[in-house]
Symmetry: C2
Subunit: 284 residues, 2 copies
């Protein structure tokens, strides 16, 4: 670490670079004990936190800009899955000593680029040194009109089951949070969640929350990926959602099957599909 | 790690134990992509994130209950410093493999104990394994009546300078966030912040934000601590605040000096006091 660099001067650099068009929502951004935000009338808030850990969620070889964009993208995907709009974020960065000042600044350049694109304002956070690998935690606050959030507990028997995009993408591909699709699904989808730990595990979670089962008939596979990876790989960040019978799906989405209530569990091509996606406690 | 344990079953355990009296604010807690919260009329929101890293902020010998309480206590202290009331928190726990399931549960017992005492509802978070030391990140959302937040940029020449409690406390002492004092100071204090990185560094930050200088005349020293530690040690989590001339201080607080505008910088007993508190990038 550059000897001249200190926490306050890094924070000042980040504050300068975080300057995105301010809305009246942000009463006070970076620099005090807390950020002060003014919620808009008629909205509910969405809160999410997600970690990105070196050696778990990314390798040291991934460029810092990509790490920054990935850290924010993961949480943005959750806001998308609720049909929300991102508003504010806070970043906690515990950086390993093998990374220098340039790495930190490029990390923030990547993160702030995606923040600007999606209307997310960086309003605070924390910088620390990590004894070993780098840990990033993003805290994201979004908003949704009152009562309109898409939840995972509303799927009903007979609903059609959809996913956006293709599954089985390489883990280091930039995340494209499905914010526009999420907003479009408000008032239409009976349930929605994002696929972060793999279709088989995440669909099990959706079915458990809704008290239903599911039959998968087909899966849109990313070019070059295996069926196994499309079913059980993680890091897809596509939306998994259900629509009442007869409602047409949106552009860029595929109907992969349907929700059933006669049987519990999930079936793929007639056979039971076990939840074998990414579990941080079983797999690592 | 117990082979039977997995992420979903741990989350279910936490959800069960996080059951505190729900208010109408919490539309949806643990278990979906995001928590859904309903902001109250007439309030602004306070957002804060703070990390607690094994080997940096605590040693492996600290009991997990104390780690959990400390992780939440640090952020609660920031809400107190703004004159706010804590509302919701999310916890990101990346746990080292040298800790087992019992450690994780006791960590949450400690954290949830302090959450209950302070009216903070755990509404979400993330569990992951860390390749090395344990990293905890708390994301805390508080609230304050519109326009009433205590900021660090309002100190004026002639204001009296105060601290709560005694300075130089042992780092592993339980944090007692000064929530009641913070609320009492609303509408009275011209500026306020919490002392987390040491009086000398934090007072420099307050003076810089307010564009003033300060003269310290005395410091209330914790029994057994040195003056050096009281001035430059971190982890005190007391409030540092300014009152207009003539206003009496609150119980449990000490007038330590005054705000000046004739000179920049901070003076202690007539000599310049350099900011030598805890900087995560210079000291570690």
């Amino acid at each position: 670490m550059n000897g001249v660099m200190n926490e306050d001067s890094l924070v000042a650099w980040i504050k300068k670079n975080a300057a995105v068009p301010r809305t009246r929502d942000v009463v006070l951004g970076i620099g005090d004990d807390c950020a002060i935000l003014s919620p808009r009338k008629g909205e509910e808030l969405l809160l999410k936190t997600d970690p990105v850990i070196e050696g778990v969620h990314f390798t040291s070889a991934l460029p810092p800009q990509a790490v920054g964009a990935r850290a924010l993208g993961r949480s943005l995907s959750d806001i998308a899955a609720m049909g929300g709009e991102p508003r504010y974020c806070l970043i906690s960065l515990a950086v390993g000593s093998h990374h220098d000042e340039a790495w930190i600044k490029n990390f923030f350049r990547g993160l702030l680029g995606l923040a600007r694109k999606t209307g997310t304002v960086l309003v605070g956070g924390d910088l620390a040194k990590s004894p070993h690998e780098t840990h990033v935690n993003v805290m994201l606050c979004g908003a949704v009109p009152i009562g309109k959030a898409l939840r995972r507990d509303g799927a009903r028997g007979g609903d059609a089951l959809y996913v956006s995009g293709k599954l089985g993408k390489p883990w280091d591909r930039p995340i494209q949070p499905r914010l526009e699709l999420g907003r479009k699904l408000r008032g239409l989808a009976t349930s929605c969640m994002d696929i972060s730990d793999g279709l088989s595990l995440d669909l099990h979670r959706l079915c458990e929350a809704s008290g239903v089962g599911a039959e998968i008939e087909r899966v849109p596979i990313y070019k070059g990926a295996s069926l196994e990876r499309a079913l059980n790989g993680g890091e897809d960040y596509e939306l998994l959602f259900t629509l009442p019978p007869g409602k047409p799906g949106a552009a860029g989405t595929t109907r992969i099957g349907r929700i059933v209530t006669a049987t519990a569990g999930i079936y793929f091509e007639g056979k039971p599909l076990e939840p074998r996606g990414w579990d941080h406690f079983e797999r690592t």
